[in-house]
C-alpha cells in the first residue's frame, strides 16, 4: 500500500523482535534448567540411600542409620488431615465468594483477608496453631493440631483457585439454568460446579505440594524429633519428612554420618509429592470427563 509522501512509515523492528524472542526463550529454558539441576542433584545424592529398608524401617543409631518409615507415615497423615480440613472448607468459601456474595464491601473484605492469609509467614501459622490448637483447645502436640495448622495455611490457596475456577464459567450457563426454574444452589451444584471442578482440583494439587514440604507450621504443633513408632490416634505426635530432614541436617547426633539419609529423605519427599500430584491429576481428568464438553 502506498501512503502519501509526507506520511512517515516506520520500519517494523524485526531485529528487536527477534532479540526479545530469543532472550525470553533463554530465560524460560534457564528456569527449567535450574529445576533440572536441583532435581538431579537430589536424585544423584539421594539415590544411594534409597532401599526397601530405608522406606520401611525405623531410624536407628541416633538417626544415622535405618529408615524413615515413621516420617513417611507422619507426612501422609498430615497431608491427608490438612486436606480433609482445608479442601471442603476452602471450596465452600470459594463458592460463597463467587456465587453468593454480592459485589460490595463484604466481598472485597473477604477477598482481601484471604489474600492476606496467603501472605502470612508459615512460622506465624505455627505459633498460632500452637497457641490455639495445642494449648487452648488442649489437642497437645498431635496429628490433629498439626493438620489443622497446615490446613489453615492451605486454605487461601484452595479458596483462590476455587474462585478463579468458578469465575471462568460463562454466566450464560447460570442464566440458562435459572431461567428453567432452578434455584441458585441447584444451578451451582448441577451446572457450575461440575464444570469448575477439574480446575478446583488444581488448588488441591498446589496445596498438597505446599503442605507436604512445610516445616515451620508443624514445628510446634505435631512434629517429633525422634519417635520410632507409629501413631495410634490423631492425638499422637508423629515424625514428618521435612522436619526430619531439618533435624538430621542441623541438629542430629552426627550430621556428617546422616548426610546420605538427608538426601534420601529429600528424594522420598519429592517422590511423594509427585505421586500425590499424579493422583490428583487423574482425579482431575476423571471429573473433566464427567462433564460432556464434546
Amino acid at each position: 500500500m502506498k501512503y502519501p509522501d509526507h506520511i512517515k512509515v516506520r520500519k517494523k523492528k524485526t531485529r528487536s523482535q527477534n532479540l526479545a524472542f530469543v532472550s525470553f526463550g533463554i530465560i524460560s529454558f534457564g528456569i527449567v534448567a535450574i529445576l533440572i539441576v536441583i532435581l538431579s542433584f537430589i536424585v544423584f545424592h539421594g539415590f544411594k540411600a534409597l532401599s526397601w529398608d530405608f522406606i520401611s524401617k525405623m531410624p536407628e543409631d541416633g538417626m544415622t542409620k535405618g529408615g524413615i518409615f515413621p516420617a513417611i507415615i507422619g507426612t501422609l497423615y498430615l497431608v491427608a488431615g490438612s486436606m480433609l480440613f482445608a479442601f471442603p472448607i476452602g471450596v465452600m468459601s470459594g463458592i460463597y465468594i463467587n456465587e453468593y456474595a454480592k459485589d460490595g464491601y463484604i466481598k472485597r473484605f473477604i477477598q482481601m483477608m484471604t489474600n492476606n492469609l496467603a501472605g502470612v509467614p508459615s512460622i506465624v501459622f505455627g505459633l498460632f496453631g500452637m497457641s490455639l490448637f495445642v494449648n487452648k483447645l488442649k489437642f497437645g502436640d498431635s496429628i490433629l493440631a498439626g493438620s489443622l495448622t497446615l490446613g489453615l495455611l492451605a486454605l487461601p490457596v484452595v479458596i483462590r483457585t476455587t474462585e478463579e475456577a468458578l469465575k471462568a464459567i460463562d454466566n450464560s450457563f447460570r442464566i440458562g439454568s435459572l431461567a428453567l426454574g432452578a434455584s441458585k444452589w441447584q444451578t451451582t451444584k448441577r451446572v457450575v460446579m461440575p464444570m469448575a471442578f477439574p480446575n478446583v482440583i488444581t488448588g488441591l494439587i498446589l496445596s498438597i505440594g505446599r503442605v507436604s514440604g512445610e516445616t515451620a507450621p508443624i514445628l510446634f504443633t505435631v512434629a517429633a524429633y525422634f519417635l520410632p513408632k507409629l501413631p495410634h490416634s490423631i492425638f499422637d505426635q508423629v515424625m514428618a519428612l521435612p522436619y526430619h530432614l531439618y533435624v538430621i541436617s542441623t541438629s542430629g547426633t552426627n550430621i556428617e554420618a546422616s548426610r546420605g539419609i538427608a538426601y534420601g529423605t529429600a528424594l522420598v519427599l519429592i517422590i511423594l509429592v509427585l505421586i500425590a500430584n499424579l493422583l490428583a491429576n487423574a482425579l482431575r481428568r476423571y471429573f473433566g470427563k464427567k462433564v460432556k464438553m464434546n
Binding site: K102, D103, D170, S172, F173, I175, G176, S177, L178, A179, L180, G181, A182, S183, Q186, R190, V191, P194, M195, V291, K292, M293, N294
Partner: protein
Amino acid sequence: MNKIETRNVNLHYGDFHALKGITMSIVENSVTALIGPSGCGKSTYLRLFNRMNDLISNVKIEGDVLVEGKDIYERGVDVDELRKRVGMVFQKPNPFPKTIFENVAYGLRVNGINDKEFIAERVERSLAQSALWGEVKDKLKKSAFELSGGQQQRLCIARALAIEPTVLLMDEPASALDPLSTAKIEELIYELKDKYTIIIVTHNMQQAGRVSDRTAFFYMGELIEADETKVIFTNPKNVRTQNYITGRFG
C-alpha cells in the same frame, strides 16, 4: 384474552431510566415481536416477565407486571415457580455441558421430577416439538456441544418446552444463526404459537414481519406504538415507527 399486561412500568438501572411508563397487553397464544434500535429497552422489557432483571444489581422496578392476572413483582411470589411458567430462549445458544438427553431433562429434574419413564417421554416430546427429534434420536447420550449452532438453539427451545411453560420469551433467538437455521427457528415459532404465548425480541424487520401477529416498537425506553403486525408495517400511526421500519434510522 390478555396473557400478560404491564401498567405504567418504569425501570431504572442505577441512574439510567431504561423503561419509561410502559403500558401494554400481550394476547394469549400469539406471537408478539418487540422491535427497536439497540438500547431501546426491548430486551429489558422482555426480561421483566421471568424476572431476569432481578439478577442485575441496582435495578429498580415500578408499576404492575401481570402474568395471568397476577402481579409477579408482589412480595411472596415464588420466582423459581414463575420461571417454570415463563420459559426463555437466549440470543446465544447456551446448552449445558451435559448429554442431549440431560439438557432437556434438566428443567424436570430441578423441579423435583425423578420418574424415569415420565422424563424419557417428556424429553422425546419436547425434542419432537422443537423439530429436533429426528436428528438426535440416535445420539441422545452424546454431548450437546456436538450439535451445530442451529441444533443447539432448537435444543434450548426443547429444554424450555420440557417443563411446559405457557409463555415463551425469545431474546433474538436466531441472530447468531445461519439463514437456514433461522428459517427453521421461525417455522418452529409459527407452529408453537397454537399452544404458547410467544414474545420475541428481534433486530430483523423481515423476521418480525414473518413470524409475529403483533409488533411493538420501542425507542429510547418508550413504547412508541404497538399494534397488529400488518398495521405496524403498512400503516404505522407514528412517524418514528415509520422511519424505523423503512430503514431511515436505527
